[in-house]
């Protein structure tokens, strides 16, 4: 379970965040949220697919780390074996909270930094400190805050992107058929990808719209990212000693 609280320099001045990456610290997710603004970095290492958030039914784009629940094939020797970690993973254990404030007599919502106190990465012993000894944020905390800001805008943008994909029927479900080196066959279902047939049939007006928003590039990067399945499969074979 999570225990999200507003981060403050008084109650949380001695907290430290573990930077090691391992199952023990909750890094064993098989996929995580991503968004078009970071597709360029993500597609270099991970397949990008789409699936539905089980809580809202809304589509999100995800970076894939494994082939089944709790399998992250990038975890090795307490570290993450890839140069880029998607922001939705890197931000943990921080998250965005919304605070209602009153500014000049007007009710407004403001984004604030929350921390999940029950997250295994939150300790008092070792890791990155959040606050400087005599007050002020550490650069580590500032970086985390920047990530959350990027994620916030990324999600807003992602919704527009995905609505366009749905409108033009560019998403299709698929089942990934895998064969490991020992000839065992496995399936991964529940994900969606770009329907390339529909994509190639788009009229120039629609293409221009997608291009103007930078989404055409995102679409092609998502398609290109599928080549990372091979890399994932190699990792899986390696882990199993096959």
């Amino acid at each position: 379970m999570t225990n999200n609280v507003l981060l403050n320099s008084v109650d949380h001045k001695d907290l430290k965040i573990v930077t090691e990456r391992s199952q023990k610290y909750g890094d064993n997710m098989w996929y995580s949220l991503t968004f078009p603004a970071e597709f360029k970095s993500v597609q270099a290492y991970y397949p990008i697919f789409f699936n539905k958030d089980s809580n809202t039914g809304q589509f999100i784009s995800v970076a894939i780390f494994g082939f089944q629940d709790q399998e992250n094939l990038f975890l090795a020797d307490n570290r993450w074996d890839a140069p880029y970690i998607p922001l939705s993973v890197a931000r943990q254990p921080f998250l965005i909270g919304v605070q209602k404030i009153n500014e000049d007599g007007e009710d407004k919502e403001q984004r604030v930094l929350h921390i999940d106190m029950d997250h295994p990465k939150v300790t008092q012993e070792h890791g990155e400190a959040l606050f400087l000894e005599y007050g002020g944020n550490t650069p580590y905390l500032d970086t985390a805050a920047d990530m959350l800001e990027a994620i916030h805008h990324g999600i807003v943008d992602s919704k527009i992107f995905i609505d366009l994909l749905i409108e033009h029927e560019l998403l299709e479900s698929f089942t990934l058929e895998l064969e490991l080196n020992d000839r065992s066959k496995h399936q991964m279902a529940g994900f969606y990808t770009i329907n390339e047939e529909k994509l190639s049939a788009l009229d120039s007006e629609t293409l221009a719209t997608l291009h103007a928003k930078g989404y055409l590039q995102a679409i092609y990067m998502a398609i290109a990212s599928q080549s990372n399945i091979r890399g994932l499969l190699n990792r899986k074979n390696f882990q199993l000693g096959l």
Binding site: K52, D53, S54, N55, T56, G57, I166, L171, E172
Partner: protein, 517 residues
């Protein structure tokens, strides 16, 4: 005689008129000049009857084919999911109940589980043993999740809806998206051609409207088929006694009260009360036999029923609407170039929600069999009449089945309606047969039967009917049945742990909408 059929005139709006328009217009091109012309003439003076708030699962296909978004439909029609019916007090009047779910028994297409369930009939209800859905009903769960695409399901479902709002949505969709023309005008006269066909109808403001096919959706007044052509009406009052209804809208106990996804039907002293939960209110009504109870006494039973929902003072004062009807149907439905759809074709108590289902089936057949010209119309008409006479007979038999198995003797109504001597011959025969073999494939004698034999099973065994098969089955088929029972149990557990409450899902749909894929 070989004049091409180009123009359809639908007389009457409401669910019947607009569903018919939508079903035909979503199959045939309606472009100006080359396409089929569909005009719906609806009087502003005639209020639709506004009942018929339950649908069959077929409505999902109907709406999807028309191109209506399920999210829009659910939100605009104050609609919710319907997974079947729950019957209380029909058998012994001791607060007992049974379910008739929309899901077929597990493995139904390959195996008839009914005979294998019989030995366990005192331990588990038939619906619980063979389907997951009665348990979903018990726990108030929805038939799908927020991530389930529009019109897809985890458990088969139709809808509960606000009939007035439904007609409104269909009207908007038909006129804006499907090219149906809409005239608000009153029909003053029906004009006959020499052949006896309807040549045109005269309207107050728009003069004469010509057409090749006229569809009578004028409700119980049956302006074209009944009044103009004088096609006789066949009463079924001697079989199904109910000829009156008292209807009322009541608020939920609280805004977050559970929304039941089964139509609750609770037997009373001279009929039964329906209870249909929509997101914003409940529609409750008592349909009864005026020969067995006075309106005043029926009203009291209805007010007693709603007292726990709305409280004593509101239950006493709330406005109740009275509807009179004769149960039965027309002798034929398609005559010359006129076909009746909806209440103009027939009307029967709302048990098993046949009203909207019959409209869908009628419109579907008209659309798929739409004659190319006047010459072939008589052939199609003959087929249509045969098909729908059979369907009406099916409905009468199936509804009667609900009553005839009752062991209630607490009123004249129940003593008389369960008497075997006024049973239709067809049902009499079936009941004899079902004593030694359970309904299955061969009980469906026609294609597109109104009710699958599974429905007969749910009613029979829900009412405690015993089928005593004389011959034992081979051991391997009973092992196969055990596997199916176990699978059903597992599947039930799985759904109970994954599906949201019905109200919870409706609220999420309001917030996020259902995904399109």
């Amino acid at each position: 005689m070989d004049k091409a059929l180009r123009k359809i005139v639908i007389v009457g709006g409401g669910s019947a008129g607009w569903l018919t328009a939508g079903i035909i217009a979503s199959e045939h091109a309606t472009e100006l000049g080359t396409g089929l012309e569909i005009i719906l003439v609806e009087s502003a003076d005639v209020a639709p009857i506004g009942v018929g708030e339950g649908t069959w699962p077929s409505m999902r296909t109907t709406l999807k084919k028309m191109g209506i978004s399920e999210t829009d439909f659910l939100l605009e029609c104050d609609a919710s999911f319907k997974q079947g019916s729950k019957f209380t007090n029909w058998n012994t009047n001791t607060n007992e109940y049974y379910y008739h779910p929309y899901t077929l028994p597990h493995g139904f297409n390959n195996t008839n589980l009914a005979p294998f369930w019989q030995p366990y009939r005192d331990k588990i209800s038939f619906a619980d043993a063979v389907s997951t859905q009665s348990q979903l009903g018990e726990y108030g769960l929805a038939p799908k999740q927020i991530s389930t695409a529009e019109y897809d399901f985890n458990a088969n479902y139709g809808y509960h809806l606000d009939a007035g709002k439904f007609a409104g949505l269909l009207q908007k969709h038909c006129t804006k998206k499907l090219g149906v023309k809409h005239l608000i005008d009153h029909v003053t006269q029906v004009n006959e051609a020499e052949s006896g066909d309807i040549a045109s109808i005269t309207t107050k403001k728009h003069g004469d409207i010509l057409g090749d096919l006229f569809i009578d959706c004028t409700g119980t007044s049956s302006v074209l088929l009944g009044k103009h052509f004088g096609i006789p009406f066949i009463s079924k009052k001697h079989i199904l006694f109910n000829d009156s209804a008292l209807a009322v809208h009541v608020p939920h106990q609280s805004p977050d009260s559970p929304i039941d996804s089964f139509t609750c039907s609770t037997a009373q002293s001279a009929g039964w009360i329906w209870d249909i939960a929509l997101p914003s209110r409940r529609g409750v009504g008592y349909t009864y036999s005026s020969s067995h109870i006075t309106d005043e006494k029926a009203e009291k039973e209805l007010r007693d029923y709603i007292t726990p929902i709305v409280g004593l003072s509101a239950a006493k004062t709330i406005n109740i609407r009275k509807i009179n009807f004769t149960p039965g149907h027309k002798e034929k439905f398609w005559h010359k170039n006129c076909v009746a759809v909806g209440l103009s074709a027939g009307f029967i108590e709302p048990l098993e929600a046949t009203a909207l289902a019959l409209i869908e089936l009628s419109a579907k057949m008209i659309s798929e069999q739409l004659p190319a010209n006047r010459q072939t119309m008589d052939i199609v008409a003959k087929r249509f009449n045969t098909k729908f006479l059979h369907r009406w007979q099916n409905i009468v038999d199936f509804l009667k089945l609900h009553y005839v198995l009752s062991k209630r003797t607490d009123s004249d109504y129940w003593r008389e309606i369960s008497e075997h001597k006024q049973l239709p011959d067809t049902l009499q025969e079936q009941l004899l047969l079902w004593k030694t073999q359970s309904p299955y494939y061969y009980d469906a004698t026609h294609t597109e039967e109104m009710f699958p034999s599974a429905s007969y099973q749910y009613i029979l065994y829900g009412m405690g009917f015993v089928t005593d098969t004389p011959r034992k089955k081979r051991l391997n088929s009973s092992k196969k049945a055990d596997i199916l029972f176990n699978e059903n149990l597992k599947h039930t557990q799985h759904l109970l742990s994954t599906l949201p409450k019905n109200r919870e899902l409706i609220n999420k749909i309001k917030q996020y909408g259902l995904p399109k894929i």
